[in-house]
Amino acid sequence: MYCDRCGQAATEGDHSACAAARELEPPRFCPDCRRRMKVQVVPTGWTATCVEHGVRHS
């Protein structure tokens, strides 16, 4: 599993800053494979698409 903000391994290092930042950011990396996702932000939400693992949304 990977941090969906920085793309590094979720179990390595401190990701508390990432978690705090994620309150005002959509995810950028797929937590399953760390690929960069295509992210679309709209006024009331977001969708993030991984070519391998599909669509996530707010």
């Binding site: 920085c6 793309g7 309150e23 005002l24 950011e25 959509p26 950028r28 990396f29 960069r36 996702m37 295509k38 992210v39 679309q40 932000v41 709209v42 006024p43 009331t44 939400g45 977001w46």
Partner: protein, 331 residues
């Protein structure tokens, strides 16, 4: 009371004339203990020359990322190692975003693209998108598509785009520290074409890019010279992978001083809260700014980052007895 506030009261509040650059700088240098008085004066100026209404807007990115320009604050530049990938919004999603924006009571919906300037593909998307929005939603459409040619300006007018955003971002003397792929003067040229076309001019920038207090005053004075209909005021939200990704955020009190100073420089403009306010000011500071010169907000999310829920801002406006500007008042 500091002497500059006496002068501002006479010049700005009484006569509606903005402070000059030297006066703005004096305001930006006021000590913290004078901040409450400064904010009250800026609020009085806003109430006298703009009224209590607040203009509410939603924004959406039609084309995200992959931009060829190198604006050092921007996660959408293709020249940096930002994690933001290029993506286009389809027309049905664009119309849905406009509907969601209108449902908040917003009167403005701004379509934004991360480009140097529009190519034919983007103009075609705009033609289709603006038409579809106007058929489906009762809302004013604005656009922000970078630098324009005269033909593109004319075409946006023909589409019914009523306001065009093109930020100068920072003052002329600091611009080359922030952007190297185009000049401040090129941006000014687009703004002049927009102004001459009859579209409303929306032009602001970002505070916290590393500019000095003097340059902040210079920027406010240059905006006042442009006399835009609207000034969106952003505060740097340092983005990972950008050259400004490690800069500190603007101190809350400095942000509030700047809001008041920009209001005293431009007593009649729409001064809008834009990106970065959540991390710079938080909930309490957001309220202070609305009572210190701000009279417009972007509600909901931004282009690549998230904002407060629209309901939080709308509840705050209700608490402050600041009515949302109605669509009829903008036509």
């Amino acid at each position: 009371m500091p002497e500059i506030l006496d002068r501002a009261r006479a010049r700005v509040l009484a006569d509606g004339a903005g402070l000059d650059e030297a006066g703005i700088l004096e305001v930006l240098r006021l000590p913290d203990e004078d901040l409450p008085e400064l904010l009250q004066l800026a609020h009085d100026v806003r109430m006298k020359w703009c009224g209590p209404e607040v203009e509410v807007e939603g924004i959406v990115s039609l084309k995200t990322g992959g931009c060829p320009e190198d604006c050092h604050f921007c996660s959408q530049s293709g020249l940096f190692t930002s994690p933001v990938r290029a993506v286009w919004l389809d027309i049905p999603s664009l119309v849905e975003a406009a509907k969601q924006t209108a449902a908040t009571g917003a009167t403005e919906f701004c379509i934004v693209a991360a480009v140097r300037g529009p190519d034919e593909r983007l103009m075609a998307q705009m033609r289709e998108g603006v038409k579809a929005i106007k058929e489906a939603v009762d809302i004013q459409v604005a656009a922000s598509l970078g630098m324009l040619t005269q033909e593109q300006v004319d075409e946006l007018v023909a589409m019914g785009v009523h306001r065009y955003n093109h930020n100068l971002e920072t003052c002329r003397s600091y611009f080359a520290n922030v952007v190297t792929t185009h000049s401040w003067e090129e941006r000014w040229g687009t703004l002049k074409m927009v102004r001459d076309s009859g579209m409303e001019v929306c032009c602001g920038g970002i505070l916290g890019l590393g500019e000095s207090v003097e340059q902040r005053a210079e920027f406010a004075a240059q905006l006042a010279e442009l006399d835009p209909h609207e000034v969106p005021l952003n505060f740097l939200n340092p983005r990972p992978g950008t050259p400004l990704g490690d800069r500190p955020v603007v101190e809350g009190k400095d942000a509030l001083r700047a809001i008041a100073a920009f209001r005293l420089a431009m007593p009649r403009t729409i001064l809008r809260y834009a990106g970065g306010r959540e991390i710079t000011l938080g909930d309490l500071g957001t309220r202070d700014g609305l009572l210190g010169g701000i009279n417009a907000v972007i509600v909901g999310n931004y282009l690549t980052t998230l904002g407060r829920p629209a309901t939080s801002d709308l509840e705050l406006l209700q608490e402050l007895k600041m009515p949302v500007k109605a669509l009829s008042a903008t036509l």
